[in-house]
Symmetry: C2
Subunit: 458 residues, 2 copies
């Protein structure tokens, strides 16, 4: 391996096909990454020295400063912040209790963009629905002036797909409830754990719909409410939520690069999002995403100058509405992007590799798949999609790859107070770094055109 | 089995030794209990229809009324409440944040009898100690005016013994910190989980020691503070705790009986505690304890009149200072107690059977052990001790048995918001009922004198 930098210097004069790294060299980079400490160091540092990083707040600004210092210290080039402005919603007090028939407190948390109750709280009878369809079908008179309780049957899935299926409860429930005149809405958390740690998450009231208080009960509390409702007596709830919109504030993307040997080969954009929800410390969502991608890029950086430029982006303001990803797409629309990839699904092991590239580029994907197989990663399909932050730029027809992580416990933690460092398994984190390193080692040293593609939904 | 009630009627005329149930009948009662629904029904009902039951509050009074109705409905005799008065402490607001060097909120909860901060909170530098011994050894000047942070290394143990060993941090820490002039104390929760659900629990300031604010950080928050402190910079914390002593209020024990055929044979007291901490719904601590013992007694009741009276006690006010157990001992000191047993360690499977009986009574214990073996329960020793509520009356030299439960996850949940119904495993709950049924089937139909004994500490 010691002769490699010289070999790469020579390779710059060769045709693109000769510039690829041999499978043995890719494997060596991959296996070395199984001892990686950089990803854990970034995750530990960001979650400890900054903690929660709600988009558009001073905490997210501290996180950007932290990121710039860290990326410079790691030796990346062109480290800078690309600012933009965004509206900011912040949490207030949040309390709920059953007033009758069985008085007791319940644990909940406001959803993003929730309206506020009066400062003295609001009392109303609960009307319960098992699905968004049942809520939509209800006559307005059954909902008006009441607190809607909307539940669901989400279970963990390997690929995280149940979040898409059941997340509609959070995304649409508040708007539908408001349209029907509900005083407020509480949902069963969109999650799969059994702890008193409710799951927040964004929802946006449709245009012209009045914001109402909207919150998620922890899953044990939702099940408690189910049992109380099952007794068949009217259930009255008292709700106090005092979140507020604070106006427009600055946010930004943190960007760092490994300049490639051939600018014409296009750049590879990888990353995760720097912001987090405010309840936990954003360890698995998404400190590990920025950490995994940065640690893998660092390994390529230390190995010698790649053919293609690798751009690492720590996106801002993903959770609350993709403001960072949208700003990136606008600012960088004119550049040649060879490939995009995001890590935003925790840090449990990568189990499947999908792609969305032009058919002619599939042999490059095969080489990645071969390099990933010894990590226990299956080759999926060529119908991959773009992670949330890269979706706006990917929509222009850019190719993507997906290193899909095991989702069986992701929604136990995601958007809850429990998203903290202790949930990160260092062994699985390193497997992620190894997978990303192998992927980058192949595509960053290969000039094959990977696109264009028809964009796919993720 | 259908002829048994008649057989028992005949047995009343026979000598005591002939009144024992055959091993086959004990086994049949035991195995039938593996389909028990009564214990789950009690646990579900109490945690749903009452919820948390802090001692001395109106919630505990509702729980007593619930218990009286339930025990009467189950067919128990002499169902009544034995009242007593007690001082009551209630929780207020509780918030903490690191002010510097890394501003962020931490999750904590006040310990029982905690003092309050000023209504505007208090700010102070943290001084950390790894053990109560290190705190005791520190010069007062190092502690004065600061917030003591006291941590520990508790791990789960099968027998729960680590709670005794590390619980000293909670029991003594606040007093020692106050004696040294600390402004407040925060401890790492005395628990073994990794959720943002701090563990409360009682502590009593020693006589003459000024109460100071005393709280427990959740374990992820304690580990976060450890990491922050490890950076070596001074750490300032802001703490707001507004609990208060509310004076003396009524509490009580709920008592129910199965009258035995022979009052001279002494009575068997079994039960658990009705009160709970205020954060969860007291499912494993200790709705399941009253549920398991009541369900087992119900099976004996339905089987036919036992030789000995079985008294089921749902003790009040255990958590905050054994007021119920102490009141019971005072009220019933003059009665002949044949045996005492308590269930107050959750509802995971019973794995060991200990006793503390007179040597001459060991053959009766052997019969119990034989009946328990098919449930996967090992015979332990004759050095058992009394559970907390029965300890005051046991101290007069009364024999006890222990049906010891698996403690590996008990301190993940105990005294936290997570002590909720979903944590109860119905299969293991039934194994408990079967074990208690078998034990009662043997000792309630046997006139062997089981004591006296030298009391043992539990």
């Amino acid at each position: 391996m010691k002769t490699l930098p010289f070999a790469l210097l020579c390779a710059a004069a060769l045709p693109a096909s000769a510039q690829t790294l041999s499978p043995e060299r890719v494997a060596a980079l991959r296996d070395a990454a199984l001892t990686d400490d950089v990803a854990y160091d970034i995750t530990e540092g960001l979650t400890t020295e900054v903690g929660q990083r709600l988009a558009g707040t001073e905490a997210e600004a501290r996180a950007r400063a932290w990121g710039v210092a860290k990326l410079k210290a790691l030796g990346f080039k062109n480290v800078h912040i690309e600012p933009y402005d965004m509206p900011v919603w912040v949490r207030g007090e949040e309390r709920a209790e059953i007033l009758s028939p069985f008085p007791q407190k319940l644990t909940l948390t406001a959803l993003g963009n929730s309206g506020a109750t009066p400062a003295t709280g609001l009392d109303a009878e609960i009307v319960a629905f098992p699905s968004i369809a049942a809520l939509k079908a209800a006559p307005d008179a059954a909902v008006r002036g009441r607190i809607v309780y909307l539940t669901h049957a989400m279970q963990p899935t390997q690929d995280g797909s149940s979040y898409g299926a059941f997340g509609v409860v959070r995304r649409q429930g508040p708007t539908v409830a408001s349209q029907k005149g509900a005083a407020a809405i509480v949902i069963r958390s969109i999650g799969t754990d059994h702890h008193r740690t409710p799951h927040t998450g964004v929802q946006v009231f449709a245009a012209g719909v009045a914001p109402i208080p909207a919150a998620a009960l922890s899953i044990p509390d939702a099940e408690q409410l189910d049992r109380i409702l099952k007794r068949g007596k009217p259930v009255r709830m008292r709700l106090l939520l005092t979140p507020r919109q604070t106006g427009v504030h600055p946010s930004g993307n943190v960007i760092a690069e490994i300049p490639g040997r051939d600018p014409k080969a296009g750049l590879i954009v990888i990353g995760g999002h720097l912001d987090s929800w405010d309840l936990g410390t954003g360890a698995i969502d998404d400190a590990t995403g920025v950490a995994i991608t940065t640690a893998a890029a660092k390994r390529i950086l230390d190995h010698g100058r790649p053919l293609r430029t690798i751009r690492v982006v720590w996106f801002g303001a993903e959770e609350v509405g993709l403001f960072g990803g949208t700003a990136y797409a606008k600012a960088h629309a004119g550049e040649k992007h060879a490939l995009l990839a995001e890590s935003d699904f925790g840090a449990d092991r990568v189990w499947r590799f999908d792609s969305r590239v032009a058919p002619a580029a599939l042999p490059v994907m095969d080489r990645i798949a071969d390099a990933l197989a010894p990590l226990g990663i299956a080759r999926g399909n060529n119908e991959g999609g773009a992670g949330s932050d890269i979706a706006p730029i990917a929509a222009t027809g850019l190719p993507v790859v997906n290193l899909r992580q095991d989702g069986m416990r992701y929604f136990d933690l995601h958007h809850t107070p429990d998203d903290t460092l202790d949930k990160v398994d260092p062994v699985q984190l390193r497997q992620n770094v190894a997978a990303w390193t192998a992927m980058l080692a192949v595509v960053a040293n290969d000039a094959t055109e990977l696109g264009p593609v028809t964009p796919g939904a993720e």
